[in-house]
Symmetry: C2
Subunit: 325 residues, 2 copies
Amino acid sequence: MTADPNRSFDMMPAGPTPAWIAADWGTSQLRLWVMDNSNQVLDRITSDRGMSRLGPQDYEPTLLGLLGDRLAPGSNSDVRAVPVICCGMAGSRQGWAEAPYATAPCPPPGIAEATRPLIQDKRLTVYLLPGIKTTDPADVMRGEETQIAGYLAQDSNQTGPQVICLPGTHSKWVKLDRGQVTSFSTFMTGEMFALLQGQSVLRHCVSEDGWDEKAFKQAVAKALSSPAAISAQLFRIRADALLSGQNAETGRARLSGLLIGAELAATRGYWSHQSVTILGTDALARCYETALSALGCKPRRVDAESLTLAGLCAAYDQLQKGQTE
Amino acid sequence: MTADPNRSFDMMPAGPTPAWIAADWGTSQLRLWVMDNSNQVLDRITSDRGMSRLGPQDYEPTLLGLLGDRLAPGSNSDVRAVPVICCGMAGSRQGWAEAPYATAPCPPPGIAEATRPLIQDKRLTVYLLPGIKTTDPADVMRGEETQIAGYLAQDSNQTGPQVICLPGTHSKWVKLDRGQVTSFSTFMTGEMFALLQGQSVLRHCVSEDGWDEKAFKQAVAKALSSPAAISAQLFRIRADALLSGQNAETGRARLSGLLIGAELAATRGYWSHQSVTILGTDALARCYETALSALGCKPRRVDAESLTLAGLCAAYDQLQKGQTE
């Protein structure tokens, strides 16, 4: 897939030339925001051309193809290069170019730490924001650090210690203090749920949707009270379906409750003495809220969708301030 | 697939007419043993026509097709019907016909508890052996009870309390006392390993073979000392591969150690005060032996392959003794 260089000559540009492009380039998906110079969104573009489908040479043509006539005509013209600020897996070793991890404790890495891949087209300058690692124990994040940057930018009053939880395929629990990520832990809870629900023997008794709130809470409590027994509890979902006709919605809620409960058993040190902010407002985030509330914790939920963009905007502001670079 | 009724007329039978047929009919595989009347194996047949590929009407033609000219010619002749004694998922509700679970505590169900599906061909009589269930907590086995019957038949001196472990896709821990199954617990350890190794984000850092014994033992110990932390440990396999180049054989051993360690954390009540017999001699059974030995338990391993057949032979002996039925 290559951009057609003639196309932009044939048509009027779709609008004003963007001031910059914000990009969340993940494993399976790419989200672009076309931005003006006061950080207002001119346009949104999504694509399934995530890292898993791309070699290093594919990123630039992908960007040009998607941005099309939003850029000034001509690929070598003497126009100002539009900055593209990008978080996520595009900056991994298997991505466009490696943006090496910053090491916690550290603030979310910003534009000064970004990697700039070589670009043929002079109309673009690309900044790949790094992720964060810890080495003992080993853990990594790439993409979440930009959500955290967005969260900190929106909430600059909160400078004391705090805990945030980012539910997802690989959920993260993060400790923050004075604008720094001090430590974090990753859990494969979301991926385990998807594999067990869709592909294990439990698929016959765990539905794709539907819910049973009581069964969910009971399963969370069971996992918390006896974390060692979780691996025995999983097969019981099937046994109860076989022996007492338990419905698949209850099975779904039990599976979710056991796995989230296992995560909460492992994160007591995060949530038991501190308030927790959940970055997310979807059904999964609400499950975490329900589970934590049942444990006496009063979590706060904030919209995570907007935080990635807020984090990328914070990086753009840094770029503007340091424009002499 | 249907047996060709003419085929057996055209050829000499492949050998003496069998006294009976032993069958282990599982979800994905079918194993048949063609037996003489002193329980010697005349022939072995394996097929991929497991329960998951068959509707109830497919079982009889499958058997006839595989047995072929080993049966006397003619499907309605006045010959003695050959008993087919069958354990495994063919006796489940989704199988050939349901052989309802016996409820523990109970001895492994025998020929008297078997379900006899309707058969068109008068040369066969089929006995489907039931599995065993417990209701509080809910758990089920189907197939393993026949291995246990074989184990008890071979080891009739051991009548006191004992614990056996059956590693596998869904491993089982079973308490026996005076020939009865008193309780048991099922773990999805093998299936979780396969899903995480083959289909999760860990597939990049967990090899399909190879091993690291030290890493395995460390992971078992880690899981035992802190079962709540297991779900955090899984992602660290990936983080260590990314950050310190840990090889995929070590990743494989760590994943196996964490999951088996989680199972052992949940089964302390089984192995901590009693000797354990592991039914199995393959690589997986050796992993359990290594892990239990490192915990100060001295497990004994016995060949599980032969036990299913021994259990089916025990059922045939019951049939012979009660031939008046």
